[in-house]
């Protein structure tokens, strides 16, 4: 890769030249990490296929591109973004919109909800929630060897901060609508932090959309703290166009006896890379990591999951499923790391894929490192076609082949969707998945961009 150091250098220079702009509104604490992070990025660079965890994902077309803008959107952009309405109309949620990685503080006020819940801009939170930021910011990405995480720490200026105080139960989900919209090709980075304190219970839905057809690249990092005995669920729905690249890094830290679940649903997108890190940092913690990806044409979807069993008697369960059509490619890398003291660990992993054509391709790799001896672990991966026996079973009841194939694919995908507990969203996802499998456009009704 001859251009590799060069393009990494470009980002380094971008940082150097714009450091004032980047750090202008951020708190000194957040800014204090930038220098080290850019140095770290400089060492690691933008991942190439030589990095084991990016072996099947080629970032070249997105990182070799020169974007017109890397920073804060203008006020008029924010105004346009405000017009966006989620079309899951029966989804009753505390909604907020992020534009190109920025919280629109100009027009939108942060929300203080009953019970001391706070939803707002990361920049603004740094002043109001200094203790929380000091306690949690940049604490859960330690030792990460992905240069893009460090690039984000160095350069991201805003994102969402959510605070759920001890014992507070949210009876409706929080919805973050992540919009990318610009008349120019842009590169966005955002950095979010969610703190769910002890005994709290909350669900966060993140919807990724692109609203204009330009070339976009997003590199987002979300850190999540799930306190003792807390219950936290995050669902990410990705619906972006073929010219958009989306790289997300989610770091979830769990304390003892907590439960957390993550569900990444990729309906559409040019290049998608989700890395989800679960750190089970206290006895009796439990996590579920789900994912569903539907890809066609030249799309590429990569899910990288890392479950770290650091304490005894924790349980983890991974289920990732994908349907790949045309020339689409996918990758799944599921790592389970069981520390020496983590006795009584239960860890499952399953990755099932259906390839609809000979040209579609899936690379799946389990990676189990187990240093404790009292452990129950299993993993299984399949890459195949639709089951002929099941197809015949449906046909033998009078269902035609096309419909039978759809039913099987839908059923296959539904196994992931059914884990969404928010009913309105689950129904909508079933619906979008069905449309997508039928080859219809699965765009949201108010969106002007034809993702197909």
């Amino acid at each position: 890769m001859s251009n590799q150091p060069e393009r990494s250098e470009r980002y380094y220079n971008l940082y150097k030249e714009n450091i004032r702009r980047i750090s202008d509104k951020s708190s000194p604490y957040i800014n204090s990490f930038r220098e080290n992070a850019i140095a770290e990025f400089n060492k690691l660079g933008i991942p190439t296929k030589k990095n084991e965890s990016y072996r099947y994902t080629n970032l070249d077309t997105f990182f070799n591109h020169e974007y017109k803008s890397y920073f804060m959107p203008t006020a008029s952009d924010f105004k346009k973004a405000e017009e966006f309405r989620c079309d899951v109309t029966d989804l009753d949620a505390h909604g907020l919109v992020l534009l190109n990685g920025f919280y629109p503080t100009v027009n939108d006020k942060p929300r203080q909800l009953p019970g001391g819940i706070w939803i707002g801009s990361m920049t603004e939170a740094a002043g109001k929630f200094e203790d929380q930021i000091h306690k949690h910011y940049n604490k859960y990405i330690n030792g990460n060897s992905d240069g893009l995480v460090h690039l984000n720490t160095a350069m991201a200026s805003d994102g969402v901060f959510i605070y759920i105080p001890e014992g507070v139960v949210l009876n409706k989900p929080i919805q973050i609508i992540n919009l990318v919209q610009s008349d120019e090709d842009i590169f966005c980075q955002h950095r979010s932090l969610i703190v769910a304190e002890k005994n709290s219970n909350a669900t966060v839905i993140i919807c990724d959309h692109t609203l204009s057809p330009n070339k976009f690249l997003t590199n987002g990092v979300t850190e999540i703290f799930v306190g003792e005995n807390a219950h936290f669920e995050i669902i990410r729905v990705q619906n972006e166009h073929n010219n958009a690249g989306k790289i997300t890094h989610t770091f979830m830290h769990q304390e003892r006896n907590s439960f957390a679940s993550s569900n990444n649903i990729t309906l559409h997108g040019g290049l998608v890379r989700n890395s989800t890190h679960h750190f089970l940092g206290g006895e009796g913690a439990e996590c579920n990591s789900y994912g569903l990806y539907l890809a066609d044409k030249w799309q590429h979807v990569d899910n990288f999951v890392n479950v770290d069993h650091a304490f005894p008697n924790c349980t983890s369960n991974q289920l990732f499923k994908g349907v790949l059509d045309d020339m689409a490619t996918g990758a799944f890398n599921g790592r389970i790391y069981v520390h020496r003291d983590a006795q009584g660990t239960v860890a499952y992993q399953k990755n099932n894929n259906i390839l609809l054509t000979d040209d579609a391709r899936m690379d799946t790799k389990p990676q189990l490192e187990i240093y404790a001896d009292d452990v129950k672990c299993s993993h299984g991966a399949t890459v195949g076609q639709l089951d002929d026996d099941a197809l015949f079973y449906l046909q033998s009841r009078g269902i035609n082949k096309r419909e039978a194939r759809l039913m099987l694919m839908f059923g296959f995908a539904h196994e992931v969707i059914q884990n969404i507990k928010v009913e309105a969203l689950r129904d909508r996802m079933d619906n979008l998945v069905m449309q997508r499998l039928k080859g219809e456009l699965s765009r949201c009704a108010f969106c002007m961009v034809k993702c197909g």
């Binding site: 015949f392 046909q395 033998s396 009078g398 269902i399 039913m407 839908f410 059923g411 196994e415």
Partner: protein
Amino acid sequence: MLIIKNLKAEIDGKAILKGISLEVKAGEIHAIMGPNGSGKSTLAAVLAGREFVNVTEGSVTYFGKNLLEMPAEERSKEGIFLGFQYPIEIPGVSMVNFMKTAVNEHRKYKGLEPLSASDFLKLMREKKELVEIDSKLANRSVNEGFSGGEKKKNEIFQMAMLEPKLAILDETDSGLDIDALRIVANGVNKLKRPDTSAIVITHYQRLLDYIIPDVVHVLYDGRIVKTSGRELALEIEEKGYDWIKKEVDKKDLS
């Protein structure tokens, strides 16, 4: 209703059916018995339209039409039902959705409007009672996590929903305890109308205590080697298959 003439079929180039002729008239119940590997399930597969079985010779006529030319789904809509020996588990597809799609495909074929949601649920309820199937099973994915007995009952339930003219039950009795067997057999008997027929494929005569056949055939090495009344099943129960095998093998030698 169904006329099979000199049917020969192979799987992966290996001859399994070696010339079967059989006629089923409206209202009749035929039992097909035979030792393992004699071709019973292959015959059921050919009749239901499985593609991996390759028919090399002979004909199958169903109500005057060439059955072998119809795709599996059309055979179903024309009134043929196969009760599977090993019903397939389909995770993620609910029984309700599966049956609603199937029933409405059948209705469309007959030129009828699809059933309304409430009419459909009413129909489900009625048929569930008929086969004494647990109500909860209908809310689950098709056969997923069902016990052996539940899977077989579910086959009969689907048959009740689709009301076939010709039911082919492929070893529906295998793996059933006596209570489940009785429920399954009762279901079949209750669904029987004077103008509908059934082919009951079984290894043992046990099922035939409950479903009384008009004709019993013995299939051996891809051929029907004996056809008789119900008493043949009882004879097999008593003496096993060896005497028939010997008879056939002797004939082949001479």
